[in-house]
Amino acid sequence: MNCHEAIDRFDDFLDGRLDAVEVDDLQAHLAGCPSCAAELESIHELRDLAAELPRSLEPSRNLWPAIEARISEAKVVRGRFGRRALLAAAAAVVVVSSVVTAYFIGRSQAVVVTAQSPVVAESGPSEVLLASFKGLGVDDYMATRTELMNAFDARKHELSAETVNVVAENLLLIDQAMNKIAEALGEDPENEFLMKQLAGAYRRQIDLLRRAVRMPAEV
């Protein structure tokens, strides 16, 4: 076995894919070739280091809203539902996606929001929306929302005005988007797509509130 043949077998050797005869041949070559032995040791170390690298890393922004918007477009193309309901749902999905994206961008880049502070606690979901939740098995929505809103209110003094504004603004926009989806559901009560979007929006709002409550103190 020459050096080229030996080097060509290093990975199979390290992966345990050589048979006994091949292993013996390679080891015989290594015993008489310090250069190849050093090369094998070096490759072994590098592979070990590579194997210890992290396997997962969260991106700096939430990619799901944009993905969801695009896969929702694909649903529209499939044409399962009425045009008007779909347009309303698509608009609401875009709004929900945008606000969630805005929220995460706001958090990650510390964007200073100068918008007027929206009044969220006094708004909340409409009667139509609340009626829709009963059909989705999330009729505890208001209790959960109120509990989290109270917890968020109690923490406001620990958060910067910018953060409070970002959270409040996004909660309000999600409320508005949910109401639009619920209105579309009023026209097409059996629309499974709309129901899922509504339940998804519900989940996002609760998730946003939970994250807001868990935020580390800023002031």
């Binding site: 080097i7 210890e52 992290p54 890393l57 969260e58 990619l63 899922k196 998804g200």
Partner: protein, 206 residues
Amino acid sequence: MGTGISMGVETMATFPISNPVPPRAAMRVAGEPASREHLVDRAAGGDAEAFEELYRENVGRVYLLCLRMCGNPSTAEELAQEAFVRAWQKLGSFRGESAFSTWLHRVTVNIVLGNRRSTARREARVKPVGDELPVDLSVSEPSPGQAVDLERSIAALPDGARTVFVLHDVEGYRHKEIARLTGLAEGTSKAQLHRARRLLRKALTS
């Protein structure tokens, strides 16, 4: 998003993801939890919520693979997003001969390589930008300093060498499989790996 990525179906180079196999129900994957199988089935039936759960389970690995292969965080995010959209579109062809995460991994590799080809065709090469790698790679999993050095050195490798090194030494692909994915000859794949290791050793010891 302004990264200049072209992912049109008409222009994307695609690679075979799976061979014809028996239906998923007749070929369960060992180690694939039933709940995840159920999620995949629901997503394949058009359930976006189920797909979102699959997204949340896999986004970290998909993003990191894209980041290591392209070397640029913003491009990696675009590619990861594209990979999930493509996976959604192709879920009907997933027959369960491997774990969903393994299948998704291959979809992602195809997306990254396809983007590189279309980018090269436009002569607008995506350059590896080592300085843009997150300095806090250790945030998600504790990592020794040498591993962070290795991440940066990988990002600085030439495209071809980086691709083969990531696929072979980090992700565990074999040369035969890399050759099929990339269109390279197996010998070229081996040569690129040798080159990558040589450059990395030099970078790590300098």
